[in-house]
């Protein structure tokens, strides 16, 4: 397994190279360059000042040179400086990553727990009113985009009911763990909605598939109590495809987080990414892409490793 992990990690390197090259190339096709974004439409700058800025931002060099310079520095862990304010990209990412991980972490934990739980309930109580209701809610959850759910959630829970603060990461002047948690709960719950819905559907159908197999019937016939049949025999087999879904949806989770971070003024990488694109901040876009790609690749690797833990029949060779 150690060798397998190492091999997978090594394969990631050329993959990341390709991703960075593709993103850089695509950026060149985007209209407007960082200088056009840096200077507002009615800001008067002389041609001399423009040239100074251009040289300073490295935009006077040819595109391939710009890319390879970036790559050379990135390989040494230096992702350059943000054009917008000259801050090191790595520092900005370092500051923005924890809030995102906090949001995604709680969203995912709640999503996985409730999704699997409701999936089991729906499967066991299949075709009852409860199952139908859960199915209906799941479809509603899957088909509601994160930004709509975010706005609705904010309107109901922050404005009308006043249970949670209307966005932000902390109360100015406070910022204790409890204060952050109070700000975290609402966006995290909303982020988990899609996850709950998707996982519930997968868990339900996966359990139903296993439920009627011979070994389950045998176990039941032998008089094993039903909760043990479910937890020991059904769940273990049914969860393998579900784990795949959990891993595959990390990218979706990031997508949802991008919108929710904007709506909830949550200072994470998603908001930073949108901001970077708005201002054509190449170093920031490249840095964020690289980091998100690493997160997704790692999530996939962890998913694959989880298979082995759940199903001992799977061998990594």
């Amino acid at each position: 397994m150690g060798l397998y992990t190492l091999r997978r990690l090594l394969i990631s390197i050329p993959l990341l190279l390709v991703i960075s090259a593709v993103v850089f190339t695509l950026l060149q096709f985007t209209p407007g360059d960082p200088l056009d974004a840096y200077i507002p439409p009615d800001q008067v700058l002389s041609a001399e000042q423009r040239q100074i800025l251009k040289v300073d931002l490295g935009l006077d060099q040819s595109k391939p040179v710009q890319y390879f310079k970036w790559l050379g520095r990135a390989a040494q862990g230096d992702l350059g400086y943000r054009i917008k304010n000259g801050q090191p990209v790595i520092e900005e990412l370092g500051r923005r990553l924890p809030p995102t991980l906090l949001l995604m972490g709680l969203g995912m934990t709640v999503g996985v727990t409730l999704g699997i739980f409701f999936g089991i309930v729906a499967a066991v109580k299949r075709y009852t009113l409860l199952d139908n209701t859960l199915t209906f809610l799941a479809f509603l959850g899957i088909s509601t985009p994160a930004f709509l759910a975010g706005l609705l959630g904010m309107y109901v829970f922050a404005l009308k009911l006043g249970w949670f603060p209307a966005g932000g990461y902390q109360t100015p002047g406070d910022g204790g763990a409890l204060d952050i948690l109070r700000h975290l709960i609402l966006p995290a719950m909303i982020l988990s909605v899609t996850y709950i819905a998707i996982l519930m559907r997968y868990t339900r159908s996966s359990i139903l598939e296993v439920l009627f197999q011979d070994f389950v019937r045998t176990a039941s016939a032998k008089g094993v109590p039903s909760y043990r049949v479910i937890s020991k025999h059904v769940l273990r087999n049914a969860l393998i495809p579900v784990v795949t879904v959990i891993g595959a949806n990390v990218a979706n989770l990031i997508g949802g987080a991008v919108f929710l971070e904007s709506i909830f003024s949550w200072p994470g990488t998603g908001q930073l990414y949108l901001d970077a694109i708005d201002s054509r901040d190449y170093p920031m876009i490249m840095g964020t892409t690289l980091m998100l790609a690493i997160i997704i690749l790692l999530a996939n690797l962890i998913t694959d490793l989880m298979y082995g833990l759940i199903d001992p029949r799977i061998r990594y060779s």
Binding site: P31, G32, D33, P34, D36, A37, I39, P40, P41, D42, Q43, V44, L45, S46, A47, E48, Q49, R50, I52, L53, D56, Y81, K84, N85, G86, Q87, R95, R96, L151, M154, Y155, A158, L159, G162, P165, A166, G167, G168, Y169, Q170, P172, G173, G175, E261, S262, I263, F264, S265, P267, Q271, L272, L274, D275, D278, S279, R280
Partner: protein
């Protein structure tokens, strides 16, 4: 008995506690078009001055109605030598936030910094003709100009004076993005920098030695919202006490917890034409476009009355002469003019805009319908600012829908309409090149006589109204919402959040 006195003591301590609690005003001061969240360098900022002036000060400032300029760090000034010599007398006893004395050397240092190309300052375009800065004593600054500039004082209202003792060790090039602006900026304003929690908020604390008196509140917090909707919810839920609002936002407020403030945006919205392109060169086509648009209806229906029809780019009514052509809605005349100019009604013209709000989308769709009614097809295209800048910086475009902030001094329009500023040399993106117009702008700058100056800009307004290098449509209002818990709060829309005397040291909470 013992129990009762203990209770009384606890109660007394509690009230004492709440009485000595900090008075804080939290707002989204950088929300909307006048704000620049996270940008703290006043030399390169093109917006956000409403926040910057809470801790920095300028030499002079406007009143909230933008009628008159009065002193801030300068107690008085004189203009001599036909407008080529400005002498500022500085206020006595002003201290920087770190306790150092504020002197004329700081003013000289700041102006030199603005004129140094390495600092990347947009003020260079306004201060470029300052050839000499003298400081005969600590309280006097004398500026000598290569040619008269009557708009200098207007530019000064947005120019924050910086501390020489804190910045002279940083090279101008490094100053552009220096951490100093974000960590320990030192100003002379009513509030002192306390801390920045990146991407979330900035906190200032009262400056007890502020030259107009100690502020009434202890802290001033500026929160950042990426989404306008989020700022509105925060204002409604009482999390913040002030935010910029869009016209649509204002309709969602009811009750009396929030007071809606409004004022002229000092922005003229216009359909701009690429004057270098042969396609719309015939003035009859540009006249037809203006005649075909029922502006009164758009202002009434879409803006809910919150805009004023405008017939030249000048928003300050003092400079708009009477009797200019109002181009009243007339479809027949528009059709005739297009026909006479030989316009091919099968042709479609792309209209580029950087506006992305719903109101602007509605406006463009309406313009599209109205113009189609006379046989002029347009195709709106919504782009972001970098794309807009790139396209209009070149020559491959025909029409735009845009806005130009130009109040209160019409000189602000100079770089957008004078032919010296055609890209890459500046922001005359519509490539307007009318020698008579150039001359009027130059005259407006060079004359010191108020009446001659007014006449120059009135003539400029009339000329633009006649030749239509832009079809100016209207000037809209802008809105802010403030919690009724605040007292003495002054806010008024201004270009770039510009500098007017909002007396922030008197702002208070009830």
């Amino acid at each position: 008995m013992m129990k009762r006195s203990l209770l009384a003591l606890t109660f007394a301590l509690c009230t004492l506690g709440s009485a000595s609690a900090d008075k804080v005003i939290t707002g989204a001061f950088d929300q909307g078009p006048g704000g620049a969240p996270g940008q703290f360098n006043p030399l390169t900022n093109t917006a956000g001055f409403t926040w910057l002036n809470k801790y920095f000060s300028t030499l002079v400032l406007y009143d909230p109605a933008f009628k008159k300029i009065s002193g801030d760090l300068a107690s008085s000034w004189t203009v001599a030598d036909g407008g080529k010599k400005y002498t500022f007398v500085l206020r006595d006893g002003v201290k920087w936030h770190d306790g150092q004395a504020f002197t004329s050397a700081d003013v000289k240092f700041s102006l030199n910094l603005a004129n140094n190309p390495d600092s990347g300052s947009g003020f260079a375009a306004k201060f470029g003709n300052i050839t000499n800065i003298q400081t005969p004593n600590a309280r006097t600054v004398v500026l000598t100009l290569s040619k008269p500039n009557a708009a200098l004082l207007d530019a000064m209202t947005n120019f924050m004076i910086l501390p020489e003792h804190a910045l002279n060790k940083i090279a101008p090039k490094d100053l552009r993005n220096s951490a100093w602006w974000r960590t320990n900026p030192v100003g002379t304003g009513p509030f002192k920098w306390n801390k920045l929690v990146p991407d979330q908020y900035v906190e200032l604390v009262a400056n007890p030695t502020y030259f107009r008196g100690k502020p009434k509140v202890d802290r001033l917090v500026n929160r950042y919202f990426k989404e306008q909707a989020a700022a509105v919810v925060a204002l409604k839920s009482g999390d913040i006490e002030f935010s910029y609002l869009t016209l649509d936002d204002t309709k969602t407020f009811n009750g009396n917890a929030v007071k809606i403030l409004d004022g002229s945006s000092q922005v003229a919205n216009y359909l701009g034409f690429n004057n270098a392109s042969p396609l719309l060169k015939d003035v009859r086509i540009r006249q037809a476009i203006l005649l075909a648009v029922d502006r009164a209806t758009i202002v009434k229906q879409l803006y809910g009355g919150g805009a004023e029809v405008a017939n030249c780019p000048v928003t300050n009514s003092k400079y708009v002469p009477k009797g200019i052509n109002a181009y009243a809605y007339n479809q027949d005349q528009a059709r005739q003019l297009l026909k006479a100019a030989g316009w091919d009604s099968g042709k479609s013209v792309e209209v580029i805009t950087y506006y992305s709000d719903q109101l602007s989308k509605d406006v463009l769709v309406t313009l599209q319908q109205m113009l189609a009614g006379v046989g002029f097809k347009i195709a709106p295209r919504f782009v972001d600012v970098p794309t807009y800048n790139q396209i209009t910086g070149g020559s491959d475009f025909t029409m735009v829908y845009a806005g130009i902030g130009n109040g209160p001094d019409p000189d602000t329009l100079y770089p957008s309409m004078h032919s010296d500023f055609i890209p890459p040399n500046g922001t005359n993106r519509m490539k307007v090149s009318i020698p008579a117009l150039n001359k009027l702008f130059e005259q407006g700058q060079e004359t010191t006589l108020a009446s001659t100056r007014t006449k120059a800009y009135q003539d400029m307004c009339a000329l633009v109204n006649k030749q239509l290098p832009w079809d100016v449509l209207w000037s809209a209002k802008r809105f802010g919402g403030v919690s009724t818990k605040l007292s003495n709060f002054i806010w008024t829309p201004a270009p770039a959040g510009g500098r007017y005397d909002d007396k922030a040291y008197l702002w208070d909470t009830k």
